[in-house]
């Protein structure tokens, strides 16, 4: 456990007045406050640091203790005992109660010196929480897994949660599971669980919203003469008519053969196929002859 220089954290001198400490805290808090920087872990970490520094330096008793024992925090215990003796002589001692559980908002150094939120005065950030903490989780699924509604059992903070993921969920989409976060304080409602979905796609179908895209290789002869081919869709094969004279990169749209529309049971996007015409590269002698004939028929290929 390392010593934390709270003056440095707030960027103030050791002799800073209460007002200067408050100003420094507010200035940094305006920049790093987690409510102003949602989903920013770095800002959250920074805010915890400056909040902790403020809890110590803006409280006369904590600051005195920190200034005296800060670098030599192991001896703070003795200081505490002395303080306790002094307090027992005075009446109307305020009981901060609570405590007991470790406070993740504070560092080990702070816990060791001040005993978590108990050591702070007045309304702490803990009092600001009636509804339990929200939990954040991330779930990675393959594109094929979100083509159909998907049942999963997740374990979040030791709690087993069964959920059905609707088909068609997007990469990066976040869904909220109400009441599956931390339990509330004083009978307050439980927090919520937020799950962010990372959809991995390594298959041949590319997804853009509800539409799927794929490239289909087409032999030169079918492209020229037309014909029937069988091609893959996301959920099986389909027979497809190719028109005579189909050009390279011609696109055909297969309506309703795309990805399911999120939370809509019967709607699907489209599948757009692009034809890539394969030109034969190794011709036999008789084939060369026939191509030559074709060329001659068409006035030297014009």
């Amino acid at each position: 456990m390392d010593f934390i220089d709270y003056y440095k954290v707030l960027g103030v001198e050791k002799q800073a007045t209460e007002k200067e400490i408050k100003q420094a805290f507010r200035k940094l808090a305006r920049k790093h406050h987690p409510d102003l920087n949602p989903d920013d872990k770095a800002a959250e970490k920074k805010f915890k640091e400056i909040n902790e520094a403020n809890e110590v330096l803006s409280n006369t008793e904590n600051r005195k203790k920190y200034d005296k024992y800060g670098k030599d925090w192991q001896h703070a215990e003795q200081f505490e005992q002395n303080q306790a003796q002094q307090r027992s002589r005075s009446s109307n001692q305020q009981d901060f109660g609570a405590g007991g559980q470790g406070d993740p908002d504070f560092s080990d150094f702070f816990e060791s010196m001040f005993g978590g939120a108990r050591g702070t005065s007045g309304r702490t950030r803990q009092n600001m929480q009636f509804k339990g903490q929200d939990f954040q989780a991330q779930l990675e699924l393959n594109l094929t897994e979100v083509y159909h509604a998907n049942s999963q059992v997740l374990t979040v903070n030791g709690q087993k949660i069964r959920l059905t993921i609707p088909a068609g969920i997007e990469n990066g989409q976040v869904i909220k599971i109400a009441g599956k976060g931390e339990k509330g304080a004083n009978g307050g409602p439980s927090g919520d669980l937020y799950i962010k979905f990372i959809i991995v796609n390594t298959g041949k179908f590319k997804r853009d919203g509800n539409n799927l895209y794929a490239t289909v290789d087409l032999d030169l002869y079918t492209a020229v003469l037309g014909g029937d081919i069988t091609t893959d869709t996301f959920d099986g094969k389909v027979k497809l008519k190719v028109l005579p004279g189909t050009q390279n990169d011609t696109k055909v749209k297969l309506k309703g053969k795309g990805f399911p529309v999120y939370k809509s049971k019967s709607d699907y996007g489209d599948l757009i196929l692009s034809f890539r015409i394969k030109i034969p590269s190794k011709l036999r002698e008789d084939e060369v002859k026939l191509f030559q004939e074709l060329k001659n028929l068409n006035e030297n290929g014009k």
């Binding site: 009092n127 009636f130 307050g188 590319k206 853009d208 919203g209």
Partner: protein, 98 residues
């Protein structure tokens, strides 16, 4: 009321150590909504997270109600832009793979 979970303003007032009139001031500014049933004030349970953000911002940054309201307007815009950004990122990924 029958289907919605509501929390008594008085309960919140005790927990957050703020006067009930504070909640009424927020409601008067249209920042939160207070529902009245049998002469008691209630706040939608779904809005508690929002309320706690207001309280934290006011306490930590020493902001007045108007400033908090402006912040939420901007945060909502950021949320909308982030959703758009995510959708555009997915599109870029789509074209980069071509």
């Amino acid at each position: 009321m029958a289907n919605k979970a509501m929390i008594l303003v008085e309960t919140l007032s005790i927990h957050y150590q703020v006067e009930p009139k504070y909640f009424r001031a927020l409601a008067a500014e249209g920042i939160i909504e207070i529902h009245q049933f049998e002469q008691a004030d209630y706040i939608d349970e779904d809005k508690i997270r929002h309320l706690e953000r207001i309280l934290r911002l006011q306490k930590d940054l020493n902001l007045d109600i108007d400033s908090v309201d402006i912040i939420f307007t901007l945060l909502n815009r950021i949320e909308g832009l982030n959703a758009e950004l995510n959708s555009l990122r997915n599109k870029i990924e789509f074209y980069e793979g071509e």
